[in-house]
Subunit: 329 residues, 2 copies
DNA sequence: TTGAAAGCGGTACCAT
DNA sequence: ATGGTACCGCTTTCAA
């Protein structure tokens, strides 16, 4: 690996000059610039980011925290973050936290030790103050953080839409699955649906659940069909849960969407691959990732602690677990 | 952020001494060690990895290259890599390459600029020599690289098993979907199946495809059922393709698994969530990721260029797109 | 317009 | 057993 000194020697100038042409800072004569660039090319030199980082006390690395990359919702977000960051020559260090505070803390520490210039977090196990004390900008993604910059989808509206679409398509007895109470995003969806359901004239039940895991969801799905036999419409807390419900419905011989309609939330890739394919409320995950990255970059540049919250719109993706609206009415 | 100098001052010793207790190298009196550790605690000091990396010319960062984290097969591998690396206090910088040589080259360069101590690559767009010239150890994952360390599953055996299971379960006319020719792993599976099929007394067709994309696979699936109407068993090149085939079969009213049996490859999380759930040849993706990480760590420690290839066993996961073996016979 | 040199925060050699 | 200090590769004053 050639160093800046090698380049300087080869070009017959000082390292300071090389540094100037590298960073396009200060005055450099055209001829010297040419000579330097030639030397750079010949030596196939590229600057050592570590040395830069040490001097500047900040790298071009971003820390990315997510609960579990294995959960199909997060890769979409992560990919959005990465693409945007790449466009600005930032790279990502990432860590799966499993919603475990210790892991999260751990990763944050090594992020700092590596001079990351900012953090995007899709977890919120740790208290907001932990993040606030960090001295580097943080953006929350898919997490609403009132006092900190964050990017998330309009879950409440999503919840409303889900209820409206089900009602519009003729469901008379709806079961609303309420996701984990500690996740604000899950709560928003729930409240949106509840709002619409409450002011409508359909019957509905609420079923509380405590996770988004498929295994758990399978059990709840069984419960659901035993307890609420009249159910003809289900609003699931997300697509994974909706899938479990769909599975169970099919297993016990319900006809979808004729006897039972199902709406999920997220629109993970899986949803379109199911059979029947899953109608769902789409969160623009990839775009959310990109937005979070953009926001973080702005924070990095401004170096201010702006409290900016970006809410992206959701949309109803009509597939085959809901009836066509014409068919009915 | 406290520095080693702050600690030294607080403990009334030199930075050299602090460094010694930090790294547990050389002699340090018990009492001084205690004083230093106390200072560290009080100042909440943790060493600057960037400075370390600069001096040592190697960091504790690993570069991870994958085609697309959005493809459900890769998160499993990535998670395996991460968990193992975390156990050894390594962190990951990752990059999606989209099988694009330029992106791949680009990431490799920034990996080097950041002093990564090793690379795990799940892509092979670039020539092997590019990797060979790298001066840092590289392990290929889910890619067979004859001259370089790599970890992959026994695709050939997987192909054999798939064919055997289908035959055992009574398929008489099998369509074998051959995946992209440029992927050795896809080829292995194909050849394994071909081998068994050739020496059996069932009829079979081979259908060539050029990608693992679901969109493309949907078209091929349509073709398949038009061209090979007698097909009563399908060996797909992976689970995504199998899903498309399943979708199409259901759409045109085929009964699964009675009229048509389907076997996939990979066992991505999606497979068990389909309805009917997909029988498939499982690659132990998570374990493969961990093995790759272990291998890389060994290479880092030995600092030798060992050419080590680790092949992990595959297994048949019996679900609902294949008939029970008793039912038939 | 250019160069010398201090310093970023560690590590490790050489003395003592 | 401990301290002084050169050095890792770069950036940025400050002088010339």
């Amino acid at each position: 690996m050639a160093t800046i000194r090698d380049v300087a020697k080869a070009a017959g100038v000082s390292v300071a000059t090389v540094s100037r042409v590298l960073n396009e800072t200060g005055y450099v004569h055209e001829d010297t610039k040419k000579a330097v660039n030639l030397a750079i090319k010949e030596l196939d030199y590229s600057p050592n980011e570590v040395a830069r980082s040490l001097y500047k006390r900040k790298s071009r690395l971003i820390g990315l925290l997510l609960p579990d990359i294995t959960n199909p919702f997060f890769p979409l977000l992560a990919r959005g973050v990465e693409d945007e960051m790449r466009d600005h020559d930032f790279r990502l260090i990432f860590g799966n936290t499993d919603e475990d505070a210790e892991k999260e803390q751990d990763y944050i520490q090594t992020f700092q030790q590596n001079n990351v210039i900012g953090i995007i977090s899709m977890t919120n196990t740790l208290s907001k103050t932990t993040y606030n004390d960090l001295s580097i900008p943080v953006v929350f993604l898919d997490r609403t953080a009132s006092s900190l910059p964050s990017v998330y989808a309009d879950g409440k509206e999503g919840g409303r839409i889900a209820a409206q679409e089900l009602i519009k398509r003729g469901s008379k007895c709806i079961t609303l699955i309420k996701g984990p109470a500690h996740l604000q995003t899950a709560l928003d969806r729930f409240q949106g649906s509840l709002e619409v359901l409450s002011s409508s004239d359909v019957n509905f039940n609420v079923m509380s659940t405590t996770s988004f895991s498929f295994k758990d969801a399978e059990k709840w799905a069984k419960d659901l069909f035993q307890k609420y036999i009249d159910t003809d419409g289900i609003i699931a807390s997300n697509d994974i849960v909706a899938t479990a419900v769909l599975h169970e419905a099919l297993r016990i011989g319900k006809s979808i969407p004729n006897e039972i309609q199902i709406i999920g939330f997220d629109d993970i890739p899986l949803s379109s691959l199911l059979y029947p394919s899953l109608s769902t409320i789409r969160q623009p995950a990839y775009e959310m990732g990109r937005e979070a990255a953009k926001l973080l970059i702005r924070l990095i540049k401004n170096d201010k602690k702006i409290d900016h919250n970006i809410q992206l719109p959701v949309s109803f993706i009509e597939r085959s677990t809901t009836r066509k609206v014409d068919e009915h009415v």
